[in-house]
Amino acid sequence: MLSTPALVLAMMLFGLGLIGLLSRRNVLYMLLSLEIMLNAAALAFIAGGARWGQVDGEIMFLFILTLAAAEVSVALGIVLQLSYRFRTLDADAFCEMKG
C-alpha cells in the first residue's frame, strides 16, 4: 500500500507545521508553518484519492492550492502593514486586542 507512508508523511508534516506555528514568534515563519500544514492536508487528500482511485482527491488538492495562494496574498499584505506600524515582526507584540 502506497497510501500509508504518504499518510504518515502527511501527519509528520502537519505536526511539524503545528509545532512551528506554536513555537515561532516571527510572523513570517508562522506563515511558513501554516503553508506546511496546508500542504500536509493536501498530501493526505492525494493519498486518499490514490487509495480509492477517485479523482476527488486531486480536485481537493487544486482547491487547497488556490486557497493557499489566496491566503498568502492576504497574509503578506497584513504582514507588510504590521511591520510598517509596529516596526517588528514579533507576533507577541501585537496583543492590543485582549479582553
Partner: protein, 629 residues
C-alpha cells in the same frame, strides 16, 4: 353562489388592508367609498349566499367550506373553514347589514376628523373579525375572531388617543375582557385535551356522547365558556368596561353595541348550546346573572347624565335579557331579541350621535332640551328607537321580542317566578329610562342651540333603522296575536326548541302579555310624570340636584369600579411597589454570576495569536477524541 361564503369576511379585511396600507394617499371620498363599499359588498354577498342557502338547503341544515389548513401538526388539524347554518347566517346578516348602515353614517359623522382612513380601517377590521367569529367552523378560528374583536374595540375606544382618559378607557375594556378571554381559552384547551378536536360540531357531539348531564368536566368547561361570554357581553361581574367604552366616537359605540362585540357572548352560548345543555346548573347561573345585570344596569341608566352612558347601561340591560332567555333555554327568543335589539340600539346610538353632532359634542342631557323642532328627523327616529326599546305594545319590535322572552321565563320548566317578576320590573325600568331621555333631550326649553339637522348620509341609516325597529318584530308573533312563527321556524334546525311547562294554557299567556304591556306603559307614564317638563314632580326634581350619596353610588354603576379598584388594582400596585425585592434578589444573583463568569472567561482573550492557535489545536484534538470514543 354558496361558494362565495369566504368573501363575506374577506371583503372587509381587504378594505382594512387597503385603507391601512395606502389610506394616506386616498382622498376622503375615496376612503369613504372603500370603507363603506367593502362592508356593503359583504352585505350584498350575504344576501346572495342566503338566497342560495335557502334554495339548496330547504331544511336549513348547514354548509361547510374549507379554504386551507391553517395548522397541521401531528394530532391537531385546524382549518380556515367556515360553517354556515341558520344561526350564523342570522348573525352575518345583522353584522353586515347594520354594519353597513353604521359605516354609511360614519362617512358623514367623522368627516372632519383627522384620522378618517384610520377610523374606517379599524371599523372594517372590526366587522371582519366579528364575521370570522360567527362563521368559524372550529373553536380556534372562533377564538381568532374573538381576539380580533377585542383588539379592534381597544383601537376604536381609544381612537382619540390624545386624551389620556380615553386611552385609559380603552385599556380598561381590553384588560377586563381579557379576563374572560383567558377563561375561554382554558375551556378550549380542556375540550381539546378531552376530544383531540376543535371543530365546534364534532366537539359538541362527542361531549354529548361521553359526558353525562351534570358531570364535573361539562360544568367546568361551561363555566369557563360562560366567563368568556360574560366578559365580552359586559355582564355581571365583568360589566365595568362598557360604560367607559363610550370614550370612542359614537358610530363605534353603535357598532360595538348593535352588531359586533357585545353580542359575541350571546352567540357563543347559543353556538355551544349542546355543551350548556349538559350543565343545567350553569344555565341557571346564566339566567340569574342576566337578571342581576339587567336590573343593575337599568337602575344605573336611570340616573346618568351622559346620553351615551344611558344608552350603554341600556345595552347592558338588554343583553341581560338575552342572557336570561339563554339561561331558561329559550334560545330562539334570545336570538330574536338580539335581532330587534341590534336594530333599535343602532338606531338609538346613531340618533344620539346626530344630537351630539349638532350640539358641538355636548353629551350632558341636562344641557339639552327642546330639540324636537330643530331636529325633527332625529326626534322621530329616536322616539321610535326608545319606544322599541321600552316595548310599546303591538307596533314595535321590542315588544314582541321582550314579550317572547318573558313568556319563556314564565313558562319554562327551569325558571322561577321571582325571576319573571324581576324581569318584569326591568321592563318597567326600561320604559322609564328610555323616555327620560326623550323628555329631557327633545322636549322643554332649548338649553344649547343646535346647528341644525345633519345631512343625507346620516339621515338615511336613521330612517332605515327606524323602519326595521318597527317591523322586524312581525317576524315572530305570539299565537294570541296573529301566531306568526317565521323566526322560530327559521332557527328550528340550528337551535333546540323552547320547552314549555305542561299545563300552561292560552289564558295565562294573555295575562302574562297584559302584565308586560302594563309594565312598559307604566314605565313610560312614570317617566312622563317625573321628567316631562311642566309636570309638578319634574319642576320639584330639577331644583334638587342628584348628588345624594346613594345617587352617586347608583350613578357609578353600583360602585363596581371602586370595589375592583380596592380589591385588585390597589393591592397589586402596592405589591409591586414593596415586596418585589424578594423576587429581584434571585435575578440579581443571576446577573452577578454571569458577570463574574464573564470576567473569568475574558482572561482567555490574551490577544496573542499563538495562544489562539494552540487553543484551536487543543479544541480540535478534543473533538476528534470525542468522535473517536
Amino acid at each position: 353562489m354558496l361558494s362565495l361564503l369566504w368573501l363575506i369576511p374577506a371583503l372587509p379585511l381587504a378594505g382594512f388592508l387597503l385603507l391601512a396600507l395606502c389610506g394616506g394617499r386616498l382622498t376622503r371620498p375615496q376612503i369613504a367609498w372603500v370603507g363603506c363599499g367593502s362592508v356593503g359588498t359583504a352585505a350584498v354577498t350575504t344576501a346572495l349566499v342566503a338566497t342560495d342557502f335557502f334554495r339548496v338547503f330547504p331544511e336549513r341544515e348547514s354548509y361547510q367550506q374549507t379554504l386551507w389548513n391553517w395548522i397541521d401538526t401531528s394530532g391537531m388539524t385546524v382549518g380556515i373553514s367556515w360553517y354556515l347554518d341558520a344561526l350564523s347566517l342570522l348573525m352575518v346578516a345583522v353584522i353586515t347589514g347594520i354594519g353597513f348602515l353604521i359605516h354609511l353614517y360614519s362617512a358623514e359623522y367623522m368627516a372632519d376628523d383627522d384620522g378618517y382612513a384610520r377610523f374606517f380601517a379599524y371599523m372594517n377590521l372590526f366587522v371582519s373579525a366579528m364575521l370570522t367569529l360567527v362563521l368559524a367552523d372550529n373553536l380556534l378560528l372562533l377564538y381568532l375572531g374573538w381576539e380580533g374583536v377585542g383588539l379592534c374595540s381597544y383601537l376604536l375606544i381609544g381612537f382619540w388617543y390624545r386624551e389620556p382618559e380615553y386611552g385609559a378607557a380603552a385599556q380598561k375594556a381590553f384588560i377586563v375582557t381579557r379576563i374572560g378571554d383567558t377563561a375561554f381559552a382554558v375551556g378550549l384547551f380542556i375540550l381539546f385535551t378531552q376530544f383531540k378536536s376543535l371543530s365546534i360540531q364534532q366537539v359538541q357531539s362527542l361531549a354529548t356522547e361521553s359526558w353525562p348531564v351534570g358531570s364535573d368536566l361539562a360544568i367546568i368547561v361551561a363555566v369557563l365558556f360562560l366567563i368568556g361570554a360574560v366578559g365580552k357581553s359586559a355582564q355581571l361581574p365583568l360589566q365595568v368596561w362598557l360604560p367607559d367604552a363610550m370614550a370612542g366616537p359614537t358610530p363605534v359605540s353603535a357598532l360595538i353595541h348593535a352588531a359586533t362585540m357585545v353580542t359575541a357572548g350571546v352567540y357563543l352560548i347559543a353556538r355551544m348550546h349542546h355543551l350548556f345543555a349538559l350543565a343545567p346548573l350553569v344555565q341557571e347561573v346564566i339566567a340569574v346573572l342576566g337578571l342581576a345585570t339587567l336590573l343593575l344596569a337599568a337602575t344605573s341608566a336611570l340616573v346618568q347624565h351622559d346620553i351615551k352612558r344611558v344608552l350603554a347601561y341600556s345595552t347592558m340591560s338588554q343583553i341581560g335579557y338575552m342572557f336570561l332567555a339563554l339561561g331558561v333555554g329559550a334560545w330562539s327568543a334570545a336570538l330574536f331579541h338580539f335581532l330587534t335589539h341590534s336594530c333599535f340600539k343602532a338606531l338609538l346610538f346613531l340618533a344620539a350621535g346626530s344630537v351630539i353632532h349638532s350640539l358641538h359634542h355636548e353629551q350632558d342631557i341636562f344641557k339639552m332640551g327642546g330639540l324636537r323642532r330643530h331636529l325633527p328627523w332625529t326626534f322621530w327616529t329616536f322616539l321610535i328607537g326608545a319606544a322599541a326599546m321600552s316595548g310599546v305594545p303591538l307596533v314595535t319590535s321590542g315588544f314582541y321580542s321582550k314579550d317572547w322572552i318573558l313568556w319563556s321565563v314564565w313558562s319554562s320548566p327551569i325558571s322561577h317566578r321571582w325571576i319573571w317578576f324581576g324581569a318584569l320590573f326591568g321592563a318597567m325600568l326600561t320604559g322609564l329610562y328610555s323616555f327620560r331621555l326623550i323628555f329631557r333631550v327633545f322636549l322643554g326649553e332649548v338649553r344649547t342651540q343646535p346647528t341644525g339637522e345633519s345631512g343625507l348620509a346620516m339621515r338615511v341609516p336613521l330612517v332605515v333603522l327606524a323602519f326595521l325597529a318597527l317591523t322586524v318584530g312581525f317576524l315572530e308573533m305570539p299565537h294570541t296575536l296573529g301566531n306568526v312563527t317565521v323566526f322560530s321556524q327559521y332557527l328550528s334546525h340550528a337551535l333546540p326548541t323552547t320547552e314549555v311547562l305542561p299545563g300552561i294554557d292560552e289564558s295565562s299567556e294573555v295575562r302574562e302579555q297584559l302584565a308586560v304591556t302594563v309594565a312598559a306603559l307604566l314605565g313610560i307614564g312614570l317617566a312622563a310624570l317625573l321628567f316631562l317638563p311642566g309636570s309638578m314632580v319634574a319642576s320639584r326634581w330639577t331644583d334638587q340636584s342628584t348628588d345624594h350619596s346613594s345617587m352617586t353610588l347608583v350613578q357609578a354603576g353600583w360602585g363596581f369600579d371602586r370595589l375592583y379598584d380596592r380589591l385588585f388594582v390597589r393591592p397589586w400596585f402596592s405589591l409591586t411597589r414593596h415586596s418585589g425585592d424578594m423576587l429581584d434578589r434571585g435575578y440579581e444573583w443571576l446577573a452577578v454570576c454571569v458577570e463574574s463568569c464573564h470576567g473569568w472567561m475574558s482572561h482567555t482573550q490574551t490577544g496573542h495569536v499563538r495562544w489562539y492557535a494552540a487553543t484551536i489545536a487543543v479544541g480540535t484534538l478534543m473533538l476528534l477524541g470525542l468522535f473517536a470514543l
